[in-house]
């Protein structure tokens, strides 16, 4: 029975649940075809929209314990209970039309308010559906994203300055971010201490990005799939495989490799490395007083000797 014909008049009084005896075959068939077409179109529209509206911005980080993005969009009911239980107002719900994350789903922007890594993890405890995995009980095991030093040209540590703010604010300091000593080629004599992020310990809390003192953060936390490379299943690091095999290389050394090495220099495969056969002049031990080394060759000049 079609709605279009129903008015408030006698047609309505005729009742709504009687059979379809009065409907012609043509109307019945066009009705079915129309419905099928509308449903198909709607399905396409819904699918396209949901796909396009479900991409997350690179700076939008999901709460701790969030399932991977596909699982999250299947499980998050967008109730905001995690947002309500977040003691630091870190989490927000994406709004309709906001190109940051799927409408109504929780996220945070580390540069604004990072995750303070609560223990217990209140947002995970609040989630009624398991979109935030209740198996996550140790916040250090969270992998919300991965910090990356995105700009070595502005990171102060890379310029040889002692910044180290990201290193010091890191909640898993020393594991997720370490400082690596490097020769500073600008000064030639000093060292720089550059931050290095380790993906096996970084929780993606974003405190480093939040604390970075440059105008635009030089270290940023990103969704892991954007930040992390992947070697490929076929790829093996020989030295790791060697360790795994108990020190044996997987393939035997059946051929000595030819290198274009200077005369008197050769390469030893079994751990020795580069060998210089005849160093010629035996090296003298350095003088006890380093000043002597600096003043070497200046002995004849005025004031050069003491």
């Amino acid at each position: 029975m079609s709605e279009t014909d129903r008015t408030y008049g006698p047609a309505a009084l005729a009742g709504a649940s009687e059979g379809t005896g009065g409907v012609s075959r043509r109307r019945f068939l066009t009705g079915i075809a129309g419905t099928a077409c509308s449903v198909a179109l709607l399905g396409m529209g819904l699918t396209l929209y949901s796909r396009s509206a479900s991409t997350t911005a690179p700076n939008a980080i999901r709460p701790p314990g969030a399932l991977d993005e596909d699982g999250f969009l299947a499980s998050c009911v967008r109730c905001g209970l995690c947002v309500r239980d977040c003691p630091y107002d870190t989490l927000k719900l994406a709004q309709l039309g906001e190109a940051v994350a799927a409408s109504g789903t929780p996220y945070f922007i580390a540069r604004e308010i990072p995750c303070e890594m609560c223990d217990p993890i209140y947002c995970v405890l609040a989630c009624p559906t398991g979109a935030l995995d209740p198996a996550l009980t140790d916040i250090d095991e969270a992998r919300m994203g991965l910090a990356v030093v995105v700009d070595q040209e502005t990171c102060l540590a890379f310029q040889g300055m002692r910044c180290e703010v990201c290193f010091h604010v890191c909640p898993v300091k020393g594991d997720a971010i370490t400082l690596e000593q490097r020769h500073d080629r600008r000064t030639g004599v000093t060292s720089s201490f550059v931050p290095v992020v380790h993906s096996d310990a970084c929780t993606g809390c974003g405190k480093c990005e939040h604390a970075c003192i440059t105008e635009e953060a030089a270290i940023k936390v990103m969704p892991t799939h954007l930040a992390k490379g992947h070697l490929g299943e076929h790829y093996r690091f020989g030295w790791i495989e060697q360790q795994r095999a108990g020190g044996e290389m997987l393939a035997p050394y059946d051929k000595e490799h030819e290198f274009h090495l200077p005369e008197g220099v050769r390469y030893e495969w079994f751990g020795e490395g580069l060998i210089i056969d005849d160093p010629g002049v035996p090296a003298e031990p350095p003088p006890a007083d380093p000043i002597d080394t600096l003043n070497e060759g200046l002995e004849g000049l005025d004031g050069g000797t003491r």
Binding site: R78, Q95, G97, G104, A126, P128, T129
Partner: protein, 308 residues
């Protein structure tokens, strides 16, 4: 037929106001608005006044740190999207489902849903402007959409209605902050209902209502045309009813099709507006006794008066 004068604005319920006074002729409307505002108010008490009685939103909530409630349709979308929710979600959905099994599934639509005041307003404006555009949409189209959202969920592994669901989007907006886009969605529904299709959204398209009609198949709280012999065919109830097709089988059955005065269609939203506007006091809320065959309804003993 005692139709209305087509040259004057049509005011369904005017004679009821005359008969019983304004307040009584609007009691269920007022109660519903109070209920809708109360639900939103409870959720807003936390963020606005710091009184956390209820947290979350209409999709899933926690009351007094104890009572979990989850929308069963959203949970169903999640299951169809191949995610098995945690127990809290299931418990919450079960409580909600039991509640609507009792009070009538689509009572959700008329007493809780935040879209309802908008589509009610559109229906009112449509009557005032005498818009008569007809829709080719079938009232069953919403069940196709309901099925589509679930099947597509399995195909794509995502919840398919929640990205666009105006019900949850608007409620979430009211509690967590309205985006411009959300206002536009509301406006679109308002204009659609006013000018394109009478009761177009709630009555034809919305799969949330379609889902909630299902528990209404068995729910005991029903509207009944208990005094249908007093009907003077003024048509006011048809004019205000969001699902007017549900009235006829109860009020004006054709001969052998008489299944009694109780409105048994699961799409009756139990809004009670027909009770409000009827100057002849035809309608009342009644209890449908479980296990009772509808063909025996005529005996007065099978219904219990809960409202007059």
């Amino acid at each position: 037929m005692a139709g209305h004068d087509k040259t004057k604005p049509f005011h369904p319920g005017a004679s009821a106001v005359e008969q019983f006074g304004w307040l009584r002729a609007h009691r269920f409307l007022l109660l519903r608005r109070l209920c809708q505002a109360g639900v939103i108010g409870l959720f807003l008490l936390g963020p606005l006044a710091g009184i956390w009685i209820v947290k979350g939103n209409i999709a899933s909530s926690l009351t007094l740190e104890f009572l979990p409630l989850t929308d069963p349709y959203i949970l169903l979308q999640s299951i169809f999207a191949r995610h098995w929710p945690e127990a809290t979600g299931f418990i919450g959905a079960a409580i909600v489902l039991v509640f609507y099994l009792l009070v009538g599934g689509r009572a959700y639509c008329s007493w809780v849903c935040p879209i309802n005041p908008v589509t009610d307003a559109a229906a009112w404006l449509r009557r005032r402007l005498r818009v008569t555009s007809k829709t080719s949409l079938h009232r069953n189209f919403r069940y196709w959409i309901l099925g589509l959202t679930l099947v597509l969920g399995t195909a794509t592994g995502m919840m398919m209605w929640e990205p666009v669901n105006p019900v949850t989007t608007v409620f979430r907006g009211l509690v967590f902050g309205m985006a411009t886009a959300t206002w536009l969605v509301l406006l679109a529904i308002f204009l659609f209902d006013t000018f394109l299709a009478r009761r177009g959204w709630c009555g034809h398209l919305c799969p949330v209502g379609a889902f909630y009609s299902l528990p209404g198949l068995v729910s005991p709280v029903r509207v009944s045309a208990v005094q249908r012999d007093r009907c003077d065919n003024c048509m006011d109830c048809y004019a205000v009813c969001p699902e007017p097709q549900v009235i006829s089988p109860a009020l004006k059955p054709k001969g052998s099709n008489d299944k009694g005065p109780m409105i048994v269609s699961p799409n009756c939203t139990n809004c009670g507006r027909c009770i409000d506007v009827c100057s002849k006091d035809v309608f009342a809320f009644r209890i449908r006794h479980p296990g009772h065959s509808p063909s025996h309804h005529q005996q007065p003993a099978t219904t219990t008066e809960v409202s007059s």
